[in-house]
């Protein structure tokens, strides 16, 4: 088997992974940065349209403690305040470092331009025009990664297991996607930066590689996960007419800049009916907006494709062009003239608030196993504010890179002690997996990609924004049956280059682990809070102001409650 070594190995090369690599290398680590797609092209970062929240105070006076208070309030009482504090305190330094790397943040009158996103009490969000924040960030970080000789970047390689011995990480085991060969990576520390789980849902705004890899990998080696029931649905994702070559969540920035009216199928404003206000502006929080839209649809007042209308017809064309320039032409190419027609929008799976349970150094309970970016649970509680995801990727990436390096360099002296153990663990793990994938089922058995689609439908119907005991129990039963009965007997095309069947199967394994975690947590939380809405328990219950923690005991997924990590910041009212 091919074996590579480095001080720090990073799984996932989106914003968090790339920033982590740069940070680890400048602390003196050798780094291997791995992506199953292409470095800096997969994941969620590149999909970001606009807002990145940080209290740099360029547009108006602001403090990181205000950002903290806003985030904690939006998190409906469940934020891990240690992580929220880290996110808000370090955000400004990361934004300014990227400015120094010439990302091209939008500017005015000699300072960075900042806008207000819903839930932020200040003009706090920087961006890159036009709707170019994600691509600009990805290419800026790719440039930084390329500059550093201590970082070896590897694309088209998927990590299938973390290798752990006696509670300490030893490295990871992966497969070359192009050739199908096994490759092992021995390291002092591993950072999981594999993103979220939006692919579990039929309508989602993530890249196709975000099927919960990080959660499944970590669960299987004994790490804990927290708050997995909180899947954020992005309320106004594009629904109709069909749009290609554009991100479905692009309407959010339109609303920041231009307002835009949210109307039901009868062209009535409706957000006020659900205890919030909107008034053609954009003030309503994401969880409330998703709820309101789906309730209108349920009441028979939806738009033709099952969402609501977003209408900009009152905005003059000159203002549309001034704010969005070439984007207006790309919309016209898609047959959408905003001066003449409303578009239809509806909620879409967007972001996972829950994730790996880590300490303030972003380390899991497995020594040397760190997490960064969306895969981390807790910083955003039960509902994430717009603009916090990219900041989280940058801040957590940088912090995890530094902290992982400290651990790896300390361990280096003992590196030779575990060679034999390492080799036997790697051999056993690869043989075990190979015995399943090579004895795959007959050609008429379902293909992994078909079951992925089934799982997406199941999750959307039964573990979506509205949940009930009945729906969740039925989902759990089906997920467990698929995991135990169907997964081992699936048809995987025989060994061939770029074997997507094999990749789909490996991904499906993690998707089923992750789906079970989301469904079990959602079933166990008998209240409604933030992104978790139970039809059978419609109210928020103060007794449920606690986190749920998941772990594997043997083959059984267990769940328990833990008190919230509080770390109040002086001068804020949480």
């Amino acid at each position: 088997m091919i074996e590579l070594t480095a001080d720090v190995v990073i799984v996932g090369a989106g914003g968090a992974g790339m920033y982590g690599a740069v940070a680890a290398a400048r602390e003196g680590a050798s780094v291997i940065l791995i992506d199953k797609s292409m470095v800096g092209r997969g994941g969620a970062t590149i999909m970001a349209q606009m807002t990145v929240a940080a209290a740099i105070g360029h547009q108006e006076p602001d403090e990181w403690t205000r950002h903290f208070a806003d985030t904690v309030e939006a998190g409906r009482g469940l934020c891990n305040e240690e992580l929220t504090g880290l996110l808000c305190r370090e955000g400004p330094a990361r934004i300014m470092e990227l400015d120094g790397w010439k990302i091209g943040w939008a500017q005015e009158e000699g300072h960075l331009r900042q806008v207000t996103a819903p839930g932020h009490s200040k003009k706090r969000c920087v961006y890159v025009d036009y709707l170019n924040t994600g691509p600009a960030l990805a290419s800026t970080l790719r440039r930084q990664v390329k500059k550093v000789p201590e970082i070896k970047a590897i694309s088209s390689l998927t990590i299938v297991e973390i290798i752990v011995d006696d509670g300490r990480v030893m490295g990871v085991l992966g497969i070359n996607v192009v050739s199908g060969e096994w490759v092992s990576f021995r390291s002092g520390a591993v950072i999981l930066a594999a993103g979220g789980l939006s692919k579990l849902y039929a309508r989602n705004s993530g890249s196709t590689n975000m099927g919960g890899d990080g959660y499944g990998l970590a669960l299987r080696v004994g790490a804990e996960l927290v708050d997995m029931e909180f899947v954020q649905f992005f309320p106004i994702a594009h629904l109709a007419p069909r749009l290609v070559g554009m991100d479905p969540i692009m309407w959010d920035p339109f609303r920041y800049k231009l307002g835009g009216r949210l109307l039901n199928g009868k062209f009535e404003e409706f957000i006020e009916r659900y205890g919030s206000e909107d008034g053609g502006q954009y003030r309503v929080a994401r969880d409330v907006a998703s709820y309101a839209i789906l309730k209108e649809v349920e009441a028979g007042r939806g738009s033709p494709h099952g969402g609501c209308y977003l209408d900009f017809r009152h905005v003059p064309e000159s203002r549309l062009r001034e704010s969005f320039g070439p984007v207006i032409d790309r919309l016209l190419e898609n047959g959408i003239d905003l001066t003449k027609m409303p578009v239809e929008v509806a909620p879409m799976a967007h972001y996972q608030m829950g994730g790996l349970r880590v300490n303030g150094s972003l380390e899991t309970r497995i020594s040397g196993l760190f997490a960064a970016g969306e895969v981390v649970g807790g910083a955003n509680g039960a509902n994430r504010l717009s603009g916090n995801a990219i900041t989280e990727a940058l801040v957590f990436g940088e912090t995890a890179g530094r902290m992982a390096t400290q651990v790896a360099l300390k361990k280096q002296k003992k590196a030779n002690l575990g060679v034999k153990k390492w080799q036997s663990l790697v051999q056993d793990t690869s043989r075990r997996l190979e015995s399943t994938t090579q004895n795959s089922g007959p050609a008429e058995a379902p293909a992994p990609v078909a079951l992925q689609a089934e799982l997406q439908r199941l999750m959307s119907e039964k573990v979506g924004p509205f949940r009930s005991e009945e729906k969740l129990c039925s989902a759990l039963e089906q997920i467990r049956e698929w995991r135990r009965e169907t997964l081992p007997g699936m048809h995987i095309s025989p060994n061939q280059p770029f074997n997507m069947d094999l990749q789909d199967w490996l991904e499906l394994r993690k998707m089923l682990d992750t789906a079970e975690m989301v469904a079990l947590s959602a079933l166990s939380r008998r209240e409604s809070r933030g992104a978790h809405q139970r039809e059978d328990f419609p109210d928020q219950d103060p007794n449920w102001e606690k986190n749920q923690v998941l772990a594997l005991e043997g083959d059984v997924l267990t769940i328990r409650s833990e008190p919230i990590v509080r770390a109040p910041v002086e001068g804020t009212v949480a």
Binding site: L4, V183, G245, D247, A447
Partner: protein
């Protein structure tokens, strides 16, 4: 074991045809033609994903961002023109998809588009690439 339900039928949707170049660099040129339910505004990538889910999962192509044209991984030839699978529209007329002609072919529509230094390690590499030393 409960069978996976058959793909949802698409009543009322017209069918269109898509020819896909199959195989690797050693194989003689071969095309498979697939019948796909068509809807207004559909991309060629949508059609290929539909084929993988419903007809033949062994068809391979690169893509990551799913119709947003952000990742730029899905470039290929559609009716002889270099384009992105996610922005090329599928019409009601049949069309042909080939891999990029100037890149080394891996299989089906997948070509080697990685920067040389980012290639995944393989026994066939001669270099001894260790990140630390």
């Amino acid at each position: 074991m409960k069978a996976i339900s058959k793909p949802e039928e698409s009543p009322g949707r017209p069918l269109t045809h898509i020819r896909v170049r199959r195989g690797g660099p050693e194989d003689s040129t071969r095309y498979d033609t697939f019948e796909v339910p068509w809807e207004e505004g559909m991309s060629v990538l949508d059609a290929l994903i539909w084929i993988r889910q419903h007809v033949d999962s062994s068809v391979s192509m690169r893509y990551s961002c799913l119709n947003a044209n952000a990742c730029k991984e899905c470039s290929a030839l559609v009716d002889g023109k270099v384009t992105y699978l996610c922005t090329a529209r599928l019409g009601e007329a049949p069309l042909t998809v080939d891999p990029l002609p100037k890149r080394p072919l891996i299989r089906d529509l997948v070509t080697d588009i990685l920067p040389a230094k980012e290639n995944p390690p393989s026994q066939s590499d001669h270099e001894n690439d260790r990140a630390s030393d």
